[in-house]
């Protein structure tokens, strides 16, 4: 039986969900028996080389690059999973959603206490290489269709493991009360 192919990414997140994923400790040995990684920071494959079975997405969308990556994941993954609060509802990056974008950028680059007087050119970073920031931070499911959602900030390691195991084996997933948490 061929291994299930998994891709992972961190969009507007803190990599905490990936860290939690690695917290499965010795189960990682079981994991590599079960799955093969494709595009993922775990194996550092930058671009999809084939269709994947499962895509794990950490973080929401705060810029156009996030949107492109997420759409790329949707196109290359049969099943797409939002992992963690940022992917599910924007999370901490979405705290900026209550501030108008212009005000937000001006505070960060022109007027904020740590920059005021230090940004002589008065330029808000605009290099063409930089992604364009979106008006709001969007949860993943408001951009593309997401199939499953794992709550938590980050989701507990055992939740990620159990969910992945269930998806790979097709076994039903039981979500114990202690594991499903929004923080």
């Amino acid at each position: 039986m061929s291994k299930t192919i998994v891709a992972t990414t961190s969009l507007a997140g803190c990599f905490g969900c990936h860290m939690s994923f690695l917290d499965i400790d010795e189960k990682i040995l079981d994991l590599i028996e079960l799955v093969e990684f494709n595009k993922s920071p775990i194996d550092d494959i930058k671009n999809f080389t084939k269709m994947c079975d499962i895509g794990l997405v950490e973080g929401g969308c705060c810029n156009d690059e996030n949107v492109h990556v997420l759409k790329d994941f949707r196109a290359h993954c049969k099943i797409l999973v939002s992992v963690g609060e940022c992917a599910i509802m924007g999370g901490l990056p979405a705290l900026r959603n209550t501030v108008p974008l212009q005000e937000c950028l001006e505070e960060a680059y022109l007027n904020g206490p740590s920059v005021a007087g230090n940004n002589e050119s008065g330029i808000i970073p605009n290099d063409p290489e930089l992604p364009v920031i979106l008006n709001k931070v969007y949860p993943c499911h408001e951009v593309v269709r997401m199939d499953y959602h794992l709550p938590g900030c980050p989701p507990r390691a055992e939740l990620i493991w159990d969910a992945l195991y269930a998806l790979v084996t097709g076994d039903p997933l039981k979500l114990p009360y202690e594991v499903v948490k929004f923080d």
Partner: protein, 234 residues
């Protein structure tokens, strides 16, 4: 002793005292009906609608409706539970509930109901409403992002003359809760704590206090909401 009344909840025979509302009577019979805006001992208001039950084909709020002899109450049917879940999702999307950064996380009633109903993502779009955090009060922080407009503070916190320290402002989806700066100026620490505790979420916080209980020991970390009333399967 008041007159005893027989009624049924989801087919289970129950007994209660005349004049009791359905939520309290259910509790006495070890049946949990979820509530958010209800406060034991204070006149109910039926604002959040979470406790909706069906009686004779009609939906009504269990916190405001008294039991009656022979009443047959439907509480855990699929459509009513789905309705409650929908209301929780509406509250989550209406405000800005960033659980990971909230002092109340772990002992928040809204979050606990989200857990109970296994809300993974809300079916509705997040509104990302523009709301303020007010920190000008000497004793309290009011974070409007987290307010679910349940009116608990309005109904519970009064001064010695019975005047309200909190009140609604505006109407419709612009509704907000305001605090009377003048009356609450001389609020004691006890009153500030009371206001914090009366709030089911983290919208009213006493200053210089937060994250008191460590993660893992908070109210709803291990036990679902309502498990003090009814043993719930989970």
């Amino acid at each position: 002793m008041n007159q005893l009344i027989k009624f049924k909840i989801d087919g289970k025979e129950c007994m209660g005292e005349k004049g009791q509302n359905i939520v309290d009577a259910a509790k006495d019979n070890q049946i949990y009906i979820p509530t958010l805006c209800n406060i034991p001992g204070i006149k109910p208001r039926g604002a959040c609608r979470i406790c909706t039950v069906r009686v004779n084909g009609r939906l009504m709020t269990a916190c405001t409706s008294p039991i009656a002899e022979g009443m047959e109450i439907e509480s855990k049917s699929v459509d009513i539970e789905n309705l409650r879940k929908a209301i929780i999702e509406l509250l989550f999307t209406e405000g800005n509930h960033f659980c990971p950064s909230c002092e109340r996380s772990g002992s928040c009633d809204l979050q606990a109901l989200g857990y109970k109903y296994q809300m993974l993502i809300p079916r509705f779009k997040f509104q990302f409403t523009d709301r303020a955090v007010e920190a000008s009060h000497p004793k309290l922080i009011k974070d409007h992002n987290r307010c679910i407009l349940c009116k608990r503070c309005i109904r519970a916190i009064k001064d010695e003359k019975g005047r309200s320290l909190f009140a609604f402002g505006k109407r419709g989806h612009h509704v907000e809760i305001n605090i009377d700066t003048k009356l609450s100026k001389d609020m004691t620490d006890e009153q500030a704590l009371e206001a914090t505790e009366i709030c089911p979420v983290g919208a009213i916080l006493k200053k210089e206090r937060g994250f008191i209980e460590p993660i893992g020991q908070r109210k709803y970390d291990k036990q679902p909401i309502g498990s003090d009333i009814e043993t719930l399967e989970h």
